[in-house]
């Protein structure tokens, strides 16, 4: 049973459609991550749900109630913002208590509930401070506490970890799911960090240019992206997109990638003039010639955390990324350009249409 239903929602600014005929549902207690590059319309979508702006067309239904025409104060939503949006003239305590104040709840209960949620977010020692005396991490925890305290059934989180430093962001990425599970709420979470999306989302809606291009579990999106654009948005370094052609006379058992013939297991999917999507982790690098391996030059080794990342250049100039956990790639510690051999593992590969990028 869906808890939040967005039906054919549209919003235009100056004839520019920012949200285009958008429909999706979110189940009760589900976390839906809305992910997309900047300018895709993520924040506008969230503001439409919050009621700060009104849609040109379409409906928003929460728990069976159509809230499209309600003012924000009557929607009973919790929301946390990218810039925290704390009230700078009120203490953290009053910030957190604000949703209870509007409901005219007795001071003793306010006290008890503020301390409960502040303890949960580990900011109980700073609730008497003004926002300007808080670190960015504490500010965001205060904003989250405020969005949770009135026990709303739906919480909107607008890229809440954008403005906190890397350490706090990582901490919160681990902590948030447990927190949201403990409060039993449905969540719409906006982010432009694919790792956050994969870590936090039960499902991810990929928003590009005001449209949802794919809505699925993180696993499905990573392993079966609907098009090459989405494939490139998930993964660091991003997926290799290589033009391929079939090798004449091989009946589809071989394809030509970067001027090299490679065997294609299963033989399915490839056709002349399509694009091969190959994740960097499916490219292995060695220093000895192997049957079916592609001669390449290693241009640079740029470790990413504890993974090795190599930029390879094929004989025809095509650039290909390879990545592997540390210690799994020979000679990665050396500096400068070197000759090597790349073996492409095509068992998890994707094929996309050259023109529209759609999955084949």
């Amino acid at each position: 049973m869906s808890f939040l239903t967005v039906q054919r929602l549209s919003k235009a600014y100056k004839k520019q459609e920012v949200i285009q005929d958008l429909s999706f549902t979110v189940d009760r207690l589900e976390t839906l991550v809305v992910f997309g590059p900047s300018g895709a319309g993520k924040t506008v979508l969230l503001r439409l749900i919050a009621g700060m702006i009104r849609p040109d067309r379409g409906n928003i239904i929460v728990d069976g109630r159509d809230i499209t025409d309600l003012n924000p104060e009557h929607r009973h939503l919790g929301m946390a913002f990218q810039n925290f949006a704390l009230y700078p003239h009120m203490t953290a305590y009053e910030n957190i208590a604000s949703p209870l104040r509007s409901r005219r709840i007795a001071q003793s209960e306010v006290d008890q509930r503020v301390h409960e949620v502040a303890k949960l977010l580990r900011i109980d020692h700073v609730v008497s401070h003004l926002p300007k005396a808080l670190s960015n991490g504490q500010k965001q925890r205060t904003a989250l506490a405020r969005s949770l305290i009135a026990k709303p059934n739906l919480i909107l989180l607008d890229d809440p970890l954008r403005n906190v430093d890397a350490k706090v962001r990582y901490e919160m990425r681990l902590e948030l799911p447990q927190l949201l599970r403990a409060r039993e709420t449905t969540v719409v979470y906006v982010t432009q960090d694919y790792k956050e999306a994969m870590a936090l989302g039960d499902r991810i809606a990929v928003l590009v240019d005001g449209r949802i291009e794919q809505i699925a579990t993180p696993r499905e999106i990573y392993e079966r992206p609907a098009n090459s654009r989405i494939a490139r948005l998930f993964g660091d370094p991003p997926i290799n997109l290589l033009p391929v052609s079939t090798v004449p006379g091989s009946q589809g058992a071989q394809i030509r990638v970067a001027s090299t013939d490679v065997a294609l297991p299963g033989g399915a999917g490839a056709r002349d003039g399509c694009v091969l999507g190959l994740r960097p982790e499916d490219v292995a690098v060695g220093f000895e010639a192997q049957p079916g391996a592609m001669p390449v030059e290693i241009d640079a080794v740029t470790p990413l955390n504890d993974r090795e990342v190599m930029l390879l250049r094929a004989r025809d100039g095509t650039e290909i990324f390879a990545s592997a956990p540390q210690g799994h790639m020979a000679g990665s510690g050396q500096r400068g350009r070197r000759e090597a051999w790349a073996t492409l593992d095509l068992s998890h590969s994707h094929f996309f249409d050259t023109a529209g990028g759609a999955r084949l």
């Binding site: 503001r47 939503l77 904003a143």
Partner: protein
């Protein structure tokens, strides 16, 4: 390059600037404690026997001139100035702050034009509107009333309040207001509990400026009122008499008339400084 070192050249230059700006003020203060005779002495002397005579006669309303005494109710002028300025600022705030909020938050048709029209009142020379106004005021009975003057003063103070406060409202993040409304508060509560407190430094600055402009206004009161409602600026004219100019008393009158604005400026300074430190709103 950052440097906190204090070079002698810089010190001398700063001293010159300070003397240039402060000299007239110090001179006026000194004059207010001198007799007319000391003031007119040539060459002027730096040392003289100070007298409170000028202040005493101002407060008592009896002017001791060269020949005989005359009655000038300067204290009444002071009172008028206070009433006119305070009322003008209060009216401007009541009208201007909500209007500024509307201009800052809502984009409505003709909004920019309206805001600009209001500002353009500041460009027109006052005399342009004064003579017709004088006729109207006499006809409808607003001539020589506080109400009439406060109304006309809005031409000066309202655009000021509107434009300054609007800028401050625009700086308050809309997200903060949205957050407050999502907490369940009405838009009216949001206006009073969030928008106003966050724009307070701007409101204080606008009020202070409006007060100073109203206080220093001369021409409106000169033409649209008689001595019963005229402020200090017009009142000081009384010291230019047929038998001579009472420099000492003019100086004392000026010193007295500066005191309220000075006190107000010092008082509001706290809010102005607070405004700077609230810059961490977006933090």
């Amino acid at each position: 390059m950052k440097s906190a070192s204090f070079s002698p050249v810089r010190g001398i230059l700063m001293l010159i600037v300070a003397v240039f700006f402060l000299f007239p003020l110090i001179w006026i203060v000194l004059m207010s404690f001198e007799t007319n005779g000391d003031i007119l002495r040539s060459p002027p002397r730096l040392f003289f026997s100070p007298t409170l005579h000028n202040y005493v006669s101002l407060i008592l309303g009896k002017l001791g001139g060269g020949v005989g005494t005359m009655t000038v109710d300067y204290m009444r002028n002071m009172m008028n100035s206070v009433i006119l300025s305070v009322c003008s600022v209060v009216v401007s705030l009541i009208l201007g702050v909500p209007a500024a909020y509307a201009f800052a938050r809502f984009k409505f048709r003709g909004g920019e034009d309206m805001a600009f029209t209001l500002l353009s009142f500041r460009f027109a020379p006052p005399l342009l509107v004064l003579l017709p106004l004088l006729r109207y005021f006499q006809v409808i009975g607003l001539y020589d009333t506080y109400f009439g003057l406060v109304w006309v003063y809005q031409l000066i103070t309202l655009p000021l309040v509107l434009w300054i406060v609007r800028g401050y409202f625009e700086d308050v993040s809309e997200d903060i207001e949205l957050a407050y409304r999502l907490d369940g508060h009405s838009w009216l509560a949001t206006f009073f509990k969030i928008a106003i407190p966050l724009a307070r430094p701007g409101i204080a600055a606008a009020a202070l400026l409006a007060f100073i402009y109203a206080w220093n206004n001369f021409i409106f009161a000169l033409i649209l009122g008689s001595s019963s409602v005229q402020p200090v600026t017009v009142g000081a004219l009384a010291f230019i008499t047929a038998s001579g100019i009472e420099y000492g008393q003019i100086a004392a009158a000026l010193v007295l008339s500066v005191i309220p604005t000075l006190v107000l400026a010092i008082f509001t300074q706290r809010y102005l400084v607070e405004g700077l430190s609230l810059g961490a709103i977006k933090g």
